[in-house]
């Protein structure tokens, strides 16, 4: 039973880290999109 806990812990950590990393990339992408929108806005105002 104790071994089952180790197995559960290992797979939980793997998925948590993978999802955490994908979420980090998603947040970075969202921030980048906001910056692009801001740049577009500035460029449109200058026209």
């Amino acid at each position: 039973m104790e071994n089952m806990c180790f197995l559960f812990a290992a797979y939980t950590i793997i998925w948590a880290v993978v999802f955490g990393y994908v979420f980090y990339l998603y947040r970075k992408q969202r921030k980048l999109q906001q910056e692009i929108n801001l740049l577009k806005e500035i460029m449109n105002k200058q026209k």
Partner: protein, 223 residues
């Protein structure tokens, strides 16, 4: 994004999903429990592929770093950076799952075994690779420093792979090549390697295209 890129991303995502579901089915339903280690041996099916793909990521960092220093084109640095990032994440998981496995089989979380120590050194080297960019005065200088570290750090990859043959270690040898595993275990391992390789490709493509965009935004800000 071009239509061709969207199609490629969707195909890779679909393939990755199918392979990961198949891998999980094989790990938890198909493959029989190993006699000596019991259920905890199933950590092996993610631990080994993560290590393989982590090493593969550093092989690409090495190749892309050489190409960057040779051609001085930012696309090679971006690809090396993206590959190193995924490699560090995967090797982090290798170290974590390895310690969990060690605790249940050896009774200790960590031992200064040759394979384990070489892997820790590898992880620290590529962590330094990621950090060195932030401390450089300008982007191209950071890319150059990182490329040198990406090439020099690669020396540790064959050391990690060959550690079990070069020194007496507690870590099990490469059972796959020595025929030490059954056909069902081999099939499960290969399926997991395929799933993680596709996951690596997906993340590197997404991360590299994002870094590209980031560089473009930065150059636009300077105008």
């Amino acid at each position: 994004m071009k239509g061709k890129d969207v199609l490629r991303d969707n195909v890779l995502l679909g393939l990755g999903l199918v392979l990961m579901i198949a891998a999980l089915y094989l790990i938890f339903i198909y493959v029989p429990t190993e006699r000596e280690m019991g259920v905890v041996q199933r950590i092996f099916y993610f631990h080994v592929p993560l290590a393989w793909v982590g090493m593969l990521a550093f092989v690409f960092v090495f190749i892309f770093s050489i190409l960057y220093l040779w051609k001085r084109a930012m696309k090679w640095d971006i690809l090396a950076h993206a590959s190193a990032e995924v490699g560090v994440v995967f090797i982090t998981l290798v170290l974590i799952t390895g310690t969990v496995w060690a605790r249940s089989i050896w009774g200790v979380w960590w031992t200064w075994d040759a394979r384990l120590t070489a892997t820790l050194v590898l992880w620290l080297t590529y962590l330094a690779y990621l950090l060195v960019r932030n401390y450089a005065a300008e982007q191209t200088q950071g890319a150059r420093f990182a490329a040198v570290l990406g090439i020099v750090g690669f020396i540790d990859v064959p050391i990690v792979v060959l550690a079990v043959n070069l020194w007496r270690t507690q870590h099990p040898p490469a059972l796959i090549f020595e025929g030490g595993i059954t056909s069902s275990m081999l099939l499960t391992t290969l399926m997991c390697i395929a799933a993680f390789t596709v996951l690596y490709i997906i993340i590197v493509i997404q991360s590299a295209s994002m870094k590209n965009l980031e560089a473009e935004v930065e150059s636009l800000k300077d105008i």
